[in-house]
């Protein structure tokens, strides 16, 4: 690790916000040395509790995240917030607007908010968001709130490894839980029915209850359903109390821990191997050649994928 990294790490550990911020940029951009930096940060992690906040676009995730953070700060905790918005698949640019709703909280003492773009890389966000959460953890934050982009597949990946997941639902979206049907339902520890002053809120609660009743695992701890009006701060104290209680009692068994580590490890290895191949392709123009071969009908994607991963396969065959 070069002296720049070293300096940033030392400054970050002594509480420098600019150093924390720059470290995040470097790790997020995967600048050379990021892995060594994370190796050094890793032993300092594990103290913060990670809370994932997910839900459909416009459900009030940012507002709610901000409110929850405010109450945690009032209770004397320090909070890191990671707010994720999508990158444009065309330009690679992004408009990160979550902070518009975080005005009250983002400048409070003890709060550090970071906006992140998904940056297009398939599954890439999961890992870098996790890395940023770890850096905030090592910096000494008691809680890290990860606010995801609107519902899809990707943000389920992000919140898979957090300690507790809040799923935000709102009235007025089809039959209430249309937007969060698959996947998200299974990962929720608490359902928050936000905008509860709107017509149809009780119906959403009923829909979720029905859905949970139909769940096959009758022994499993049923998720809570809590109504809030985030713009007015109503129901948030109760939500935070319940969240803290649940964090205390939630039994994260060995199997869960193992699964979480496994998940992360596989993700990292995948990214590394693909990264190496991409780098090689970029340097040699191999990707262009491969694409042209396929276009000209000389080869097919399957053969090329097999060929390019052959060295890895060969290595394990030797063993």
């Amino acid at each position: 690790m070069d002296s720049k990294w070293r300096q940033l790490m030392t400054d970050m550990k002594s509480g420098s916000v600019p150093a924390l911020s720059r470290l995040i940029t470097r790790v997020e951009s995967r600048e050379p040395g990021w892995m060594e930096a994370m190796q050094e940060i890793f032993p300092d992690t594990g103290k913060a509790r990670l809370i994932g906040i997910t839900g459909s676009p416009g459900a009030g995730k940012s507002t709610l995240t901000s409110q929850v953070a405010c109450i945690l700060v009032e209770q004397g905790f320090t909070v890191g917030i990671i707010a994720v918005d999508p990158s444009s698949p065309f330009s690679g640019g992004a408009l990160l607007g979550d902070r518009i709703r975080m005005r009250d909280v983002s400048c409070l003492e003890g709060v550090f908010v970071r906006s992140m773009a998904t940056r297009g890389a398939l599954g890439g966000l999961n890992q870098s968001a996790r890395d940023v959460a770890k850096i905030m953890d090592a910096f000494g934050k008691d809680f890290v709130l990860i606010e995801t982009v609107g519902v899809g597949q990707d943000e389920i990946e992000v919140v898979k490894t957090v300690d507790l997941v809040l799923v935000i639902c709102v009235p007025g979206q089809g039959d209430g839980i249309q937007a969060i049907k698959a996947g998200v339902l299974e990962i929720a520890n608490i359902f928050v029915v936000n905008k509860a002053d709107r017509e149809g809120a009780d119906q959403v609660v009923l829909d979720i209850e029905t859905m949970l009743e139909l769940g096959s695992d009758s022994d499993a701890l049923k998720p809570l359903i809590i109504k809030t009006i985030a713009t007015r701060g109503e129901g948030i104290s109760f939500l935070v109390d319940q969240t803290l209680d649940l964090l205390k009692t939630l039994d994260r068994k060995d199997a869960w821990q193992k699964n979480r580590i496994q998940e992360e490890l596989i993700g990292l290895v995948e990214k590394e191997i693909v990264g190496l191949i991409k780098k090689h392709w970029n340097e040699t123009g191999g990707l262009d050649r491969a694409v042209n071969q396929i276009l000209d009908g000389e080869s097919d994607p399957y053969s090329i994928a097999q060929k390019v991963t052959a060295p890895v396969a060969g290595f394990f065959k030797q063993k």
């Binding site: 916000v17 940029t25 990158s87 640019g93 992004a94 408009l95 990160l96 518009i100 400048c107 773009a117």
Partner: protein, 138 residues
Amino acid sequence: MDRTIRVLVSKVGLDGHDRGAKVIAYGLRDIGFEVIFLGIGHTPEQIVITALQEDVDAVGLFVLSGAHLPLTKRVIEGLKEKGGEDIAILVGGAIPDEDKTQLKEMGVLEVLTSGIRIDQVAQLINDHAFTRASHKRV
């Protein structure tokens, strides 16, 4: 440079006319920047804290209230004080010519008035970010 350029775009002080800020924000996004958009009604101090947390390469301050000189000064001083002196400042709005000179003397990278092209703005920020990354940053 591989690193994605990050820019903070915000209205500062008390005016709600955010069309110009939005035009610049959307334009920079379409060029491939990550734009942290703050919206209206922020104090210079809030902008300083945000710029540091987000580790942006540049801050775009958009003022149509006439208070561009004192507000910009407070942002520049705040950044200097808190260790963000290498973050470029751009000021947008209806800025009189004599104030443009004064803003530039204060250290503003560019003053964006109507008619400026988005690719010029992007190029300026890009050049600044490159210098920032290769020389000044720890």
